[in-house]
Amino acid sequence: MSPQLIYPLIGAGLFSLGLYGLIVHSHLLRKILAINIMGSGVFLILVALAKRSGEMPDPVPHAMVITGIVVAVSATALALAMMLKLHTETGRTDLPDDQQT
């Protein structure tokens, strides 16, 4: 299998794995990690697709990935801060069911 295909496929795999984790796990930290894994999958696809037909790789997707990483870091920071706040408020690390809120 050519590298042009392997990396995008791995990226798609990471994306699906993260989506699965986001849905099945209830622990908030696991959910946050799952979102980050999904993000890494997308970034891997972007970087892998930047190299077309053996020439110089296209720099634009790299710039996009850097922007994407900045966004991911800030989103993760916000999510972690809110998780900690929720933990001090409720003593739980998962989201209560709708009926209880």
Partner: protein
């Protein structure tokens, strides 16, 4: 003089001003309130200026730093962007006036202004973006600011609602970004106009279309992806709920509409019909859920779920009637923005006054808060789609498009949805006239400013019922809905 006015880059001001003011108000909380108000006034003026420019010279392209696509970042404005910018500026101005008196804890207000100004800047940037990657960045800015505002009070409900909202919005953005990656891989550009010319039907494009649409539909809270909306919108402070329901869900819908118009020109009916079907389900399900709620803010939030459904009813109609259905959607979006913001602000007034929002325990509201009761009633008229109101014009245009095509399913949904809306609005209105079992003599009074801003927004939604012709003219500046001949 006029030629000088034509040179002012209003579009760049619309983005940079709120962002800069947001940072300043974070650094100097003392001036945050004045700065916030001043910024929203300036944004309102800039939108008027931009509108004047577009009216003079047609749709407007601004190359940031003078770099053209595909290297540089472009700002693009036509009638559709102008409409969304105007809705943002008007609702934003009213909400800012409201917020100067709303917060009882100084602590909350200090945190409100910077994030709200950031949100305002993100909204303006989103409506002006001309490429799909910039749209992603603005979507994320918007999402993070919206989540932070939802969690503002730090109460348990607010945190749980905000957390759910955060996961939904991040998941939506990642799906969208993956779609963008696939499009870029195939065509080597992210410029919407360029993509519109290049796009052809291929499995990659369809995968990208699916991912982008899924992501945006999740963020717009279309049924069955609406699960995150009611807890988030109902647990946020009143001015925040107003902005979230009126503007933030419309932003992702705007992107979907924009991409649909330029990129994925609807030739395949099955996707259009699917979106229409989900919209119809949202109208019915959201209205029924709204009627079943016992708390006012949850009722209004479910009403938003229903009203979003109406926007998606246009997709199956647009293939045949094009402009008419899209005009209806734009009109509905604008009048819903005003009416729903007014409703959430009145809910905030009632909570401020009585300390709760249980519908059954509303106590002699009409006698004690007449302006608020009036505001709710006027906003309700527009939400129900009774004449004369903006909601009526929007639904009428939609009905006209459906009747022209003999699409009786959509006609039925429009009629039944209107009746259900009347049911839940009158459920609230009925209780504003009655006395509660337990009399509650409130010691706090609602500041006049908070009552009259809600009333002003509701009145705006009614006035839209008389101004259909000029508003539709503005929407069609630069003809955003003209059918382009692309075969995907």
């Amino acid at each position: 003089m006029l030629s000088m006015l034509a040179q002012i880059p209003f579009d760049a001001i619309l983005i940079l001003l709120p962002l800069g003011a947001g940072m300043l108000s974070f650094l100097w909380p003392v001036i945050a309130r004045a700065l916030g108000l001043l910024t929203t006034v300036a944004v309102l003026m800039s939108v008027i200026g931009l509108g004047w420019q577009i009216q003079q010279s047609g749709s407007h392209i601004h190359l940031l730093g003078g770099w053209s696509a595909p290297l540089g970042i472009q700002l693009y404005a036509d009638g559709l962007s102008l409409l969304m910018l105007a809705a943002t500026a008007i609702v934003g101005f009213a909400v800012s006036i409201y917020a100067t008196r709303y917060f009882s804890r100084r602590h909350d207000e200090v945190r409100f202004w910077p994030v709200w100004l950031l949100l305002l800047g993100a909204l303006n940037a989103l409506f002006l973006a001309a490429d799909i990657f910039n749209l992603y960045v603005t979507l994320e800015l918007l999402g993070l600011a919206a989540v932070a505002l939802t969690a503002l009070t730090g109460s348990r409900q607010a945190l749980v609602g905000a957390m759910r909202y955060l996961f939904a919005t991040l998941l939506g953005s990642l799906c969208y970004l993956l779609g963008v990656a696939l499009l870029y891989q195939t065509y080597g550009t992210v410029d919407i106009a360029l993509l519109g010319e290049l796009l052809e039907s291929s499995p990659g494009v369809w995968a990208a279309l699916g991912l982008i649409t899924t992501g945006l539909v999740l963020k717009t809270a279309l049924f069955p992806f609406h699960f995150w909306l009611p807890p988030a919108h109902a647990s946020a402070p009143a001015p925040v709920s107003a902005v979230l329901s009126a503007l933030v869900v419309k932003a992702s819908f705007y992107i979907l509409l924009r991409l649909w118009l330029t990129l994925f020109n609807p030739t395949d009916d099955s996707i259009n019909n699917l979106l229409g079907l989900l919209g119809a389900t949202a109208v019915l399900w959201g209205s029924i859920q709204a009627f079943r709620q016992t708390r006012l803010k949850l009722l209004i939030a479910y009403s938003t779920v229903a009203q979003i459904g109406y926007l998606f009813l246009a997709f199956p109609l647009a293939a045949a009637s094009g402009g008419l259905a899209w005009n209806a959607v734009a009109y509905l979006a604008l009048s819903h923005a005003l009416a729903k913001a007014a409703m959430f602000l009145t809910a905030g007034n009632l909570i401020h006054f009585d300390g709760h929002d249980r519908i059954a325990d509303l106590d002699r509201v009409v006698q004690r808060l007449p302006v608020t009761a009036w505001a709710f009633a006027l906003a309700g008229v527009s939400i129900m789609g009774l004449p004369p109101s903006g909601g009526f014009i929007g639904k009428w245009l939609l009905l006209e498009a459906a009747l022209k095509q003999g699409n009786w399913g959509i006609v039925t949904v429009l009629v039944v949805g209107g009746l259900l809306a009347a049911a839940y609005i009158f459920k609230v209105l009925g209780n504003t006239f009655t006395e509660a079992l337990h009399h509650h003599e409130s010691s706090t009074s609602v500041p006049a400013r908070m009552e009259w801003t809600a009333f002003g927004l509701a009145l705006g939604a009614i006035i839209l019922g008389f101004t259909a012709t000029p508003v539709l003219e503005i929407i069609n500046l630069g003809s955003p809905f003209s059918a382009r001949e692309i075969s995907p």
